[in-house]
Symmetry: C2
Subunit: 197 residues, 2 copies
């Protein structure tokens, strides 16, 4: 299984945002694109993928490629599903998520609790131009890629990742958008390190 | 320079579409994401890129990374720029484009005329899981990647590309979304064929 955790530093935690201005809604547009790149292939969904969007360190929206239904790849449709989940937030109690639709769960958890929840399901990888080149790195069997939105990781987030021995991997010399990085990470795995075409 | 031509088979040719349903507007959402992946890096624009969106073989919207201003990466903002350009369509006469904003030009040209227009500016490359693996292919100095939307290329489009000796390159074994393919093509070039990190 491949997992992607995307940290949205300013993402909405209330369903009151407008679908007409996702950029203004804490850059929810960016998180929606990450979910898209992580989940979709041409005319299909990657069933072996889970995506976790951390919303302002308050909630984490988890989407399971195996069980999610009726998602469309455009930003507005995905944002509408995020809003739906936030409308159900009061049902997220303790470690029990709200489950507004199949394959979609909203946890009342920030980054630390989410990493703890995922700890036994894979190995953390961060994407960083200063990390080990992906062609030289040996990616884990069950990678959990942790990415940040338009802001860099905060100091305490870096500390969390370091405490959990996250492996830093470089996808290239340029700093690129998180959704493009996800597409490249998938490609590195799909091709077994750019070897199988 | 890197160029990307994306063929939108059902894309709007009138500005009357709704920004609230880009998926329903001939999958304009997909074209917007392609423009995003082609043009943007983290907190910046790739100045050496030009993107050409072919709209239902009627118009081609060309965006020049060097001169375009005030574009935002979200689908809705990009679609609004496409709509703006279509509103100026009557100013596109013969081979003279409408230029509704700096770096944005709307040509009254379909795929054939666009490929003819670009013929001296680079070498055509198509992305195809059955092509030469990108790691074995020698990508041209000035590649013009030609991609299709959610539909495969039509027979006559394939013929056009073959006539112009387009090189078929594979990015991997899975059929992926065009915008993800663009991200990977950029990455292959940014890393000099997955060698420079």
């Amino acid at each position: 299984m491949r997992q992607f955790v995307v940290v949205g530093h300013e993402a909405p935690t209330e369903p009151s945002f407008s679908l007409d201005n996702l950029g203004g809604a804490g850059r929810l547009d960016l998180l929606c694109r990450c979910l898209n790149s992580a989940l979709f292939v041409s005319h299909g969904i990657r069933e072996d993928v889970r995506v976790h969007l951390v919303l302002s360190d308050t909630y984490t929206l988890s989407v399971d490629g195996e069980t999610v239904r009726q998602v469309h790849p455009d930003e507005r449709s995905i944002a509408a599903r995020v809003r739906e989940a936030l409308e159900a937030a009061e049902l997220a109690i303790g470690h029990q998520p709200a489950e507004p639709a199949p394959g979609i769960a909203l946890y009342r958890m920030g980054l630390a609790a989410t990493l703890e929840r995922l700890a036994t399901s894979g190995t953390l990888v961060t994407l960083d131009p200063a990390g080990t080149p992906v062609v030289a790195a040996s990616l884990p069997e069950a990678p959990i890629f942790v990415l940040s939105d338009h802001q860099p990781f905060a100091e305490d987030e870096r500390a969390l990742l370091a405490d959990r021995d996250a492996q830093a991997v470089s996808l290239g010399p340029r700093a690129i958008h998180a959704d493009d990085a996800i597409a490249i990470a998938h490609n590195a795995l799909d091709t077994d390190g750019f070897q199988q075409y």
